[in-house]
């Protein structure tokens, strides 16, 4: 057993309202640059739908992920190493820009610079690739809220797969359609096919926290990672000629802050925390014969941080005690392994994805009935919900390679939690048989409720800070002009506010933000050292950019 730590995410699809705040804030933080105009590290898809890039789940077409060979070994679906090398001159399975979309802007300038005339000036769309006027025909989210629609949904690869089983139960007419949202980021897989595809060895999995990154200095632009990733979450920057991908906001994670998408999620549906897993068994688990066993194999890799044996092994393998502590409190561990409500996205790609999803419970009653559950009881639970629209088969195709069992298990747990908590809230007698029906105790059910429904910030995000020598951190603070009363005064350089070396993110925002979020006091402006930037200061705490000044002792003043 070799214990490694993995930063994982869980998204509760039940709560996603499809507002795209995560996508927008992610875009503003990471991909608002030339060359990655078309890139969304985080995107929110409406299912059913074609996704972004279009039909990326169709691995017969795009050849992402791994396959198991006859001899029981893992091989990239796109081909073996030599085969890939012969294809580096022109990757046959690279999505073209149209499969994503052609990014555009508008000729806004025309609105104010057009000469006086009869017609109202308009801002025509202009391609960001060619600079020419263009017709907008598709975008990252063109089929948003359409529930696929009769023109687009038939191309949904997931829908195609289950069409035989579900047949006419999937209705695409608007009054009968079903839909839900699927926010997607990089899965930071345990067995990443993108990393395995990279000929240059530029892509790597960080051994400390499992975040998958691209070394921009080593990437040579062979584009194999784009093909390798079955989720199509590695993108090619066409300006720099390098691969780029979701970084799980590692600069934030390293100082204990959640990712931008998580922080800004208005539905508070994202959870971040550590998994401990056995790195020695990853390949073996990813190579199990039956695709439907992959979910269990993946769960099996994840180690119980409460197990003393695992703890000893973790400490032996260099996992710091505070990380072990964080792993014990990890919300993602609890949701994925303890309660088994969170499921991996497309385990059949054999990449062991580490972003997990709680399936949407939404109108589910029919599913419970059709799959042999006591629909009467379910009716009691959800008097208002009349009919199922999201077929369990569809969810199973997304989360468990088509096995409805774990999806139903998860949905039952969620339904039971609602029913149980309704009794509790209405002052009734908590019915112990409800949690028992899904194999839980009343206490566990209550804990699950707190985690999912109350979802406090500190429960959702349990992120241990990265370790570094304290001395170096202090050094980071230093600047030769920062003596007391000196011209530096920390927040401004020699040539004004914006000059000088940028204050590291770690110092500038983290401590200031944390203080502002937690303080109740108003800063004492009479204090000569409390230099206040009134432009962006709300009166709470110490304003942004000003370091914490320890209270001076009377002797020194």
């Amino acid at each position: 057993m070799r214990v490694m730590a993995q930063m994982g995410m869980v998204m509760n699809l039940d709560k996603c309202i499809g507002c795209h705040t995560c996508s927008v804030t992610c875009k503003q933080a990471w991909t608002n640059r030339a060359g990655v105009e078309y890139v969304w590290f985080n995107n929110v898809e409406t299912r059913p739908g074609q996704g972004y890039p279009r039909t990326y789940q169709d691995q017969e077409k795009w050849k992402g992920g791994w396959v198991r060979t006859k001899r029981g070994r893992l091989k990239l679906r796109a081909g073996g190493r030599w085969q890939r090398l012969t294809q580096i001159f022109s990757n046959p399975k690279l999505p073209e820009l149209d499969e994503y979309y052609e990014p555009w802007t508008y000729e806004y300038d025309n609105l104010i610079s057009a000469p006086l005339g009869e017609d109202t000036p308009v801002a025509r769309p202009k391609s960001l690739i060619t600079g020419r006027p263009m017709k907008i025909e598709w975008s990252a989210n063109w089929d948003d809220d359409l529930a696929g629609g009769p023109e687009l949904a038939p191309q949904d690869p997931v829908l195609k797969k289950i069409k035989d089983e579900v047949g006419d139960r999937v209705k695409l007419e608007f009054e009968q359609a079903f839909m839900f949202y699927l926010p997607r980021i990089c899965e930071h897989c345990l067995n990443p096919a993108c990393v395995a595809s990279c000929p240059s060895g530029a892509m790597y999995k960080r051994s400390e926290d499992g975040i998958v990154l691209v070394d921009q200095d080593s990437c040579r632009g062979w584009r194999m990672c784009v093909t390798g990733c079955p989720y199509k979450k590695v993108y090619f920057n066409h300006r720099t000629g390098k691969a780029e991908k979701c970084t799980l906001c590692y600069p934030r994670i390293e100082v204990g802050m959640p990712t931008v998408c998580s922080e800004t999620c208005v539905g508070r549906l994202r959870y971040l925390g550590l998994f401990l897993y056995d790195a020695d068994r990853v390949t073996e688990a990813a190579a199990v014969e039956n695709e439907q066993d992959l979910y269990e194999a993946q769960l099996d890799l994840i180690l119980d941080p409460h197990d003393p044996e695992v703890q000893a092994a973790a400490l032996r393998d260099g996992i710091a005690p505070d990380w072990l502590e964080a792993a014990k409190n990890s919300p993602v561990y609890r949701l994925a392994k303890e309660y088994r409500v969170a499921l991996p996205l497309h385990p059949e790609y054999r990449t062991m994805p580490m972003v997990w999803y709680i399936p949407p419970l939404s109108p589910i009653v029919d599913a419970l009935r059709d799959t042999g559950n006591d629909a009467e009881d379910a009716d009691n639970m959800f008097g208002a919900i009349q009919s199922l629209r999201i077929p369990v088969e569809y969810l199973a195709e997304l989360f468990t390679a088509g096995d409805p069992g774990p999806v139903l298990q998860s949905l039952h747990t969620l339904a039971a939690m609602r029913s149980f908590m309704r009794d509790e809230n209405l002052g009734g007698q908590p019915d112990e048989s409800i949690p028992a029906a899904v194999g839980m105790t009343a206490d566990e059910m209550f804990a699950l409720y707190r985690l999912l429904a109350i979802a406090k910030y500190e429960d959702r995000y349990v992120i241990p800070e990265a370790h570094a020598e304290v001395g170096r951190q202090l050094e980071e603070l230093g600047c030769s002009l920062d003596f007391e009363g000196g011209p530096g005064q920390y927040s401004s350089g020699t040539f004004g506010e914006a000059s000088g070396r940028p204050t590291p993110v770690a110092v500038e925002t983290f401590h200031a933000l944390k203080q502002r979020q937690t303080t109740e006091g108003i800063v004492d402006v009479a204090d000569a050292d409390a230099k206040v930037n009134l432009l962006n200061w709300d009166g709470l705490g110490v304003p942004l950019g000003v370091p914490t000044v320890p209270p001076r002792s009377p002797e020194s003043s």
Partner: protein, 246 residues
Amino acid sequence: MTESTTVQILLWAVLPYVTIAVFAVGMIWRYRYDKFGWTTRSSQLYERNLIRIASPLFHIGILAVVIGHVIGLVIPEQWTGWAPEAAYHAMAVVLGVIAGVCTLTGIVLLIYRRRTVGPVFSATTKNDKFMYVFLVAAICLGLVTTFYGSGIFGPAYNYRDTVAVWFRSIFYLNPQIQDMAESPASYQVHAIAGMLLFIIWPFTRLVHAFSAPLGYVFRPYVVYRDRGPHDPGSRPERRGWERVGR
């Protein structure tokens, strides 16, 4: 042995060493200071139908050309004495012409694509255009030389007695200027074009040829790396702003 003129010395003794120096130092400089710019800068994202044919045609062609040059220039004639001269020559000409034509067709298609496909054209830098002139010149002159020396349009020319000897003599630090000076003009012009190409090489996108990822075949599939020495949350220092004492 006749005296070499100044021009001959400059072309066949000075220029080769200048080429080697600029190439070697240039590559080291580029690698040390511009790893980020060291990329194929593929335009496949914009257009994939033409590149599907043209790029492998060009690249496999040019790899064959490189192998042909190595065999022709590096291996002394005596070493291949076991093969009949006529057979060797015929082989070399046939394979050389095939490789050369593939390369030329490939690059013509690629340049046509670069010019006519809007997004590809707007992604073409001045540096690229500058480089294409030298690359295409070297390829065309090489093909002309192959035809010229083949014996199809006149007497065959055995460059292995002269050009190859001169080429190897450069690396013995004893350049045989006369060997090259007496070779036909087409060989001389091609050699000069080749040297100029190697001089600009480190400063163009051609550097990606030297990152052929052969290590991929031998390394484990999944690569793990440590977080490295940088401080949590902050980006690495920028070039020119490094801290003292590291």
